[in-house]
Symmetry: C2
Subunit: 156 residues, 2 copies
Amino acid sequence: MQLEIHNMAGYLIRRLNQISMSVFQERMKELGLTMTSVQFAAMYAVKANPGIDQARLAGVIAYDRATIGGVIDRLESKGLVERRVCDHDRRARIVSLTSEGDALLEKLVPLVRDFQDDILSGLSDVERAEFLRLATKAADAGNDLSRAPLILDKKA
Amino acid sequence: MQLEIHNMAGYLIRRLNQISMSVFQERMKELGLTMTSVQFAAMYAVKANPGIDQARLAGVIAYDRATIGGVIDRLESKGLVERRVCDHDRRARIVSLTSEGDALLEKLVPLVRDFQDDILSGLSDVERAEFLRLATKAADAGNDLSRAPLILDKKA
DNA sequence: CCTGAATAGTGTGTATACTTACTATTGATC
DNA sequence: GATCAATAGTAAGTATACACACTATTCAGG
């Protein structure tokens, strides 16, 4: 039995997101870790942006401020990141990786890169490339429609 | 500043899902409703499958049992669906639309169909069709990777 | 320098989306 | 027909992902 909703963009995207998160979770489990894709992205962005604060971190990976707070809480309690008050703006909290966090990230990056294709395992190489091209274009165009848009080049 | 993660399948899919949910929420708000895309899909599937119970409903729209319970709770408290114990299997709960639920769904279906294209507003008609074809193929192939796979034709 | 707008982070509340564990059934098997 | 595996639903716990309101702080203008 096929419902009309099964062909709708919103439904298909939700399904792909379920599959994507499940693949990530499964791979981490195989490595004996409890890292989520969201936590990985946050750590990656922290490493790529030394001295970043929570608000800009949220913008770089398109989360809202409340969500990033919880993500950093959990990474902090696992000893993977640290938070400290910014020197010249005491409202802001600078997030940085601990040495354990840095070591873990270094280990994870190639692994995560390698299983990305598994998420789209049903597609050929050509199809996957085309899917990613279209997804990038759509995500870019729809950025402002999202509640937590991606915010880049906000600073030097 | 472009991070490597911005080109990864998992990240792009998460972004598209944020955009998709946001568009749905926004349209509902314009109509003065507080319906989520998940609740809409549940109501749609209930209507399309008269006499369905919660477990099979979960399978038809690829939720897990615990999630569907909460979704039905909220729809029930809004007076849009009803739950009753199944006659020949007292473990199961049969879900059905109330008359208000049915009327609301009838009103929403064409509206929801019409704004699906807004989710992929950055794509041309040809690109959108190709994206949907590839997304369908990928979601289908990845079905068993998801924690809550789509389960169809389980019965007569 | 003072006031008011804007911003960073947090707290609360809601809604998915899952896990594991539990109860109540059902059905299958000996 | 008693037992035992399997199933339906729920409960409790964790983790996004948002809204809204609040405090602390910064900054812009007069």
